[in-house]
Protein backbone atom coordinates (compact mmCIF):
# COMPACT_ATOMS: atom_id res chain seq x y z
CA UNK A 1 0.00 0.00 0.00
CA UNK A 2 1.46 3.33 -1.03
CA UNK A 3 2.30 6.12 1.39
CA UNK A 4 -0.77 8.23 0.63
CA UNK A 5 -3.15 5.34 1.19
CA UNK A 6 -1.32 4.36 4.37
CA UNK A 7 -1.69 7.92 5.60
CA UNK A 8 -5.40 7.92 4.75
CA UNK A 9 -5.91 4.62 6.56
CA UNK A 10 -3.98 5.67 9.67
CA UNK A 11 -5.75 9.01 9.83
CA UNK A 12 -9.10 7.21 9.57
CA UNK A 13 -8.04 4.88 12.39
CA UNK A 14 -7.03 7.84 14.51
CA UNK A 15 -10.48 9.38 14.08
CA UNK A 16 -12.34 6.17 14.90
CA UNK A 17 -10.20 5.23 17.90
CA UNK A 18 -10.55 8.76 19.21
CA UNK A 19 -14.31 8.41 19.01
CA UNK A 20 -14.23 5.13 20.91
CA UNK A 21 -12.00 6.57 23.64
CA UNK A 22 -13.99 9.75 23.98
CA UNK A 23 -17.55 8.52 23.82
CA UNK A 24 -17.33 4.85 24.76
CA UNK A 25 -14.41 4.63 27.17
CA UNK A 26 -12.58 2.25 24.88
CA UNK A 27 -13.33 -0.49 22.39
CA UNK A 28 -11.92 -3.24 20.26
CA UNK A 29 -10.36 -3.05 16.81
CA UNK A 30 -10.05 -6.16 14.66
CA UNK A 31 -7.67 -6.04 11.73
CA UNK A 32 -8.05 -8.44 8.82
CA UNK A 33 -6.34 -8.79 5.48
CA UNK A 34 -8.98 -9.11 2.78
CA UNK A 35 -9.20 -9.43 -0.94
CA UNK A 36 -11.98 -9.09 -3.47
CA UNK A 37 -11.17 -9.95 -7.03
CA UNK A 38 -8.02 -8.09 -7.91
CA UNK A 39 -8.17 -5.83 -4.87
CA UNK A 40 -6.07 -6.57 -1.78
CA UNK A 41 -6.46 -4.58 1.35
CA UNK A 42 -7.29 -4.44 5.03
CA UNK A 43 -10.58 -4.42 6.83
CA UNK A 44 -10.78 -2.85 10.27
CA UNK A 45 -13.72 -3.30 12.57
CA UNK A 46 -14.04 -0.87 15.47
CA UNK A 47 -16.55 -2.02 18.09
CA UNK A 48 -17.45 -0.41 21.35
CA UNK A 49 -20.04 -0.83 24.06
CA UNK A 50 -20.66 2.86 24.40
CA UNK A 51 -23.84 4.94 24.40
CA UNK A 52 -24.54 4.37 20.71
CA UNK A 53 -25.52 6.95 18.13
CA UNK A 54 -29.20 7.95 18.12
CA UNK A 55 -29.15 9.72 14.74
CA UNK A 56 -26.59 8.17 12.42
CA UNK A 57 -27.56 10.38 9.49
CA UNK A 58 -26.80 13.46 11.57
CA UNK A 59 -23.52 11.98 12.80
CA UNK A 60 -22.48 11.46 9.19
CA UNK A 61 -22.94 15.14 8.34
CA UNK A 62 -19.90 17.41 8.24
CA UNK A 63 -19.82 19.65 11.25
CA UNK A 64 -22.19 17.68 13.45
CA UNK A 65 -20.71 17.02 16.88
CA UNK A 66 -22.09 16.00 20.25
CA UNK A 67 -18.74 16.82 21.81
CA UNK A 68 -17.04 20.15 21.24
CA UNK A 69 -15.21 18.91 18.18
CA UNK A 70 -15.22 19.74 14.49
CA UNK A 71 -17.62 16.93 13.67
CA UNK A 72 -15.49 15.69 10.80
CA UNK A 73 -14.45 12.32 12.21
CA UNK A 74 -17.14 10.08 10.76
CA UNK A 75 -17.87 11.80 7.43
CA UNK A 76 -14.15 12.50 6.99
CA UNK A 77 -13.25 8.86 7.61
CA UNK A 78 -15.80 7.77 5.04
CA UNK A 79 -14.06 9.97 2.47
CA UNK A 80 -10.64 8.54 3.33
CA UNK A 81 -11.48 4.85 2.95
CA UNK A 82 -12.95 2.75 0.18
CA UNK A 83 -15.77 1.10 2.06
CA UNK A 84 -17.44 2.34 5.20
CA UNK A 85 -20.21 0.85 7.28
CA UNK A 86 -21.66 1.94 10.60
CA UNK A 87 -24.16 0.24 12.86
CA UNK A 88 -25.25 1.50 16.21
CA UNK A 89 -27.85 0.86 18.87
CA UNK A 90 -28.53 3.36 21.61
CA UNK A 91 -27.51 1.91 24.94
CA UNK A 92 -25.65 -0.99 23.37
CA UNK A 93 -22.76 0.33 21.32
CA UNK A 94 -21.42 1.08 17.89
CA UNK A 95 -19.59 -0.88 15.22
CA UNK A 96 -17.73 0.87 12.41
CA UNK A 97 -16.22 -1.24 9.64
CA UNK A 98 -13.85 0.19 7.06
CA UNK A 99 -11.98 -1.31 4.13
CA UNK A 100 -8.96 0.26 2.49
CA UNK A 101 -7.66 -1.34 -0.67
CA UNK A 102 -3.95 -1.22 -1.31
CA UNK A 103 -4.56 0.30 -4.70
CA UNK A 104 -7.82 2.05 -4.04
Amino acid sequence: MGLVNQTRLLTACSELVRNMMRYADGGVCIIEVVSAGRNNGVRLTFSDKGPGIPDIAAAMRDGFSTGKSLGLGLPGTKRLVNEFDIKSNVGEGTVVTIIKWANG
Partner: protein, 136 residues
Protein backbone atom coordinates in the same frame (compact mmCIF):
# COMPACT_ATOMS: atom_id res chain seq x y z
CA UNK B 1 5.35 16.85 32.15
CA UNK B 2 6.44 16.78 28.50
CA UNK B 3 6.51 20.08 26.72
CA UNK B 4 7.30 21.00 23.15
CA UNK B 5 10.00 23.67 23.14
CA UNK B 6 9.01 27.07 21.73
CA UNK B 7 11.88 29.11 20.37
CA UNK B 8 11.82 32.85 20.04
CA UNK B 9 13.42 34.64 17.12
CA UNK B 10 12.81 38.35 17.23
CA UNK B 11 9.11 38.89 16.73
CA UNK B 12 8.49 35.27 15.78
CA UNK B 13 7.90 32.10 17.74
CA UNK B 14 9.13 28.83 16.26
CA UNK B 15 7.85 25.38 17.06
CA UNK B 16 9.12 22.14 15.54
CA UNK B 17 7.07 19.03 16.15
CA UNK B 18 9.35 16.02 16.10
CA UNK B 19 7.67 13.65 18.48
CA UNK B 20 4.41 11.75 18.38
CA UNK B 21 1.97 14.45 19.37
CA UNK B 22 -0.43 12.87 21.84
CA UNK B 23 -3.52 14.77 22.94
CA UNK B 24 -2.27 16.21 26.24
CA UNK B 25 0.92 17.38 24.56
CA UNK B 26 -1.01 19.10 21.76
CA UNK B 27 -3.32 20.87 24.20
CA UNK B 28 -0.35 22.04 26.26
CA UNK B 29 1.29 23.33 23.10
CA UNK B 30 -1.81 25.30 22.18
CA UNK B 31 -1.98 26.89 25.62
CA UNK B 32 1.77 27.54 25.86
CA UNK B 33 2.01 29.08 22.39
CA UNK B 34 -0.86 31.48 22.88
CA UNK B 35 0.47 32.47 26.29
CA UNK B 36 3.86 33.15 24.78
CA UNK B 37 2.43 35.18 21.90
CA UNK B 38 0.82 37.33 24.52
CA UNK B 39 3.87 37.61 26.77
CA UNK B 40 6.34 38.39 24.00
CA UNK B 41 4.05 40.43 21.72
CA UNK B 42 5.06 38.07 18.94
CA UNK B 43 3.87 38.99 15.47
CA UNK B 44 4.22 35.54 13.95
CA UNK B 45 4.07 31.86 14.83
CA UNK B 46 5.82 29.23 12.71
CA UNK B 47 4.89 25.62 13.19
CA UNK B 48 7.15 23.09 11.48
CA UNK B 49 5.30 19.85 10.83
CA UNK B 50 7.76 18.35 8.36
CA UNK B 51 8.28 15.37 10.70
CA UNK B 52 4.57 14.78 11.25
CA UNK B 53 3.13 11.98 9.15
CA UNK B 54 -0.42 11.86 10.51
CA UNK B 55 -2.63 14.88 11.08
CA UNK B 56 -6.17 13.97 12.12
CA UNK B 57 -9.11 16.25 12.76
CA UNK B 58 -8.07 16.76 16.37
CA UNK B 59 -4.62 18.03 15.39
CA UNK B 60 -6.20 20.07 12.64
CA UNK B 61 -8.45 21.70 15.19
CA UNK B 62 -5.48 22.48 17.44
CA UNK B 63 -3.63 24.14 14.56
CA UNK B 64 -6.76 26.09 13.64
CA UNK B 65 -7.18 27.18 17.26
CA UNK B 66 -3.58 28.32 17.51
CA UNK B 67 -4.05 30.40 14.36
CA UNK B 68 -7.32 31.97 15.56
CA UNK B 69 -6.10 32.74 19.05
CA UNK B 70 -2.84 34.16 17.77
CA UNK B 71 -4.75 36.31 15.28
CA UNK B 72 -6.72 37.84 18.13
CA UNK B 73 -3.36 38.69 19.71
CA UNK B 74 -2.18 40.27 16.46
CA UNK B 75 0.04 37.43 15.28
CA UNK B 76 -0.12 35.42 12.07
CA UNK B 77 0.42 31.67 11.96
CA UNK B 78 2.32 29.81 9.24
CA UNK B 79 2.51 26.04 9.07
CA UNK B 80 5.57 24.81 7.21
CA UNK B 81 6.80 21.55 5.77
CA UNK B 82 3.48 19.78 5.42
CA UNK B 83 4.09 16.33 3.90
CA UNK B 84 2.18 15.76 0.63
CA UNK B 85 0.32 12.73 2.00
CA UNK B 86 -0.77 14.86 4.96
CA UNK B 87 -1.97 17.65 2.67
CA UNK B 88 -4.05 15.18 0.65
CA UNK B 89 -5.54 13.66 3.78
CA UNK B 90 -6.40 17.03 5.32
CA UNK B 91 -8.35 18.08 2.24
CA UNK B 92 -10.20 14.77 2.06
CA UNK B 93 -11.01 14.97 5.75
CA UNK B 94 -12.52 18.37 5.08
CA UNK B 95 -10.52 20.39 7.57
CA UNK B 96 -11.14 24.10 7.01
CA UNK B 97 -7.88 25.44 8.52
CA UNK B 98 -9.04 29.04 8.14
CA UNK B 99 -6.46 31.68 8.85
CA UNK B 100 -3.64 29.16 8.66
CA UNK B 101 -1.03 30.18 6.13
CA UNK B 102 1.36 27.60 4.76
CA UNK B 103 4.84 27.55 3.30
CA UNK B 104 7.16 24.86 2.05
CA UNK B 105 9.92 25.42 4.59
CA UNK B 106 11.02 27.57 7.52
CA UNK B 107 12.80 30.13 5.38
CA UNK B 108 9.84 30.66 3.06
CA UNK B 109 7.59 30.70 6.10
CA UNK B 110 9.58 33.50 7.72
CA UNK B 111 9.64 35.50 4.50
CA UNK B 112 5.87 35.12 4.28
CA UNK B 113 5.46 36.33 7.84
CA UNK B 114 7.76 39.29 7.24
CA UNK B 115 5.81 40.34 4.15
CA UNK B 116 2.51 40.07 6.02
CA UNK B 117 3.83 42.16 8.90
CA UNK B 118 5.26 44.77 6.53
CA UNK B 119 1.88 45.09 4.84
CA UNK B 120 0.17 45.72 8.17
CA UNK B 121 2.70 48.40 9.07
CA UNK B 122 2.25 50.07 5.68
CA UNK B 123 -1.51 50.24 6.22
CA UNK B 124 -0.94 51.79 9.65
CA UNK B 125 1.37 54.43 8.13
CA UNK B 126 -1.20 55.28 5.44
CA UNK B 127 -3.86 55.80 8.10
CA UNK B 128 -1.62 58.25 9.93
CA UNK B 129 -0.98 60.31 6.77
CA UNK B 130 -4.72 60.58 6.10
CA UNK B 131 -5.36 61.83 9.64
CA UNK B 132 -2.75 64.59 9.23
CA UNK B 133 -4.39 65.67 5.97
CA UNK B 134 -7.87 65.91 7.52
CA UNK B 135 -6.65 68.02 10.45
CA UNK B 136 -5.42 70.66 7.96
Amino acid sequence: MDKIPILRMGAFLLVTIQVDLYDRLALNLEADLVQMVNNTNAKGVLIDISAVSIVDSFMGRIIGNIASMSKILDAETVVVGMQPAVAITLIELGLPLKGVHTALDMEKGMNLLKSMIDETEEDADEDQTNDDFITE
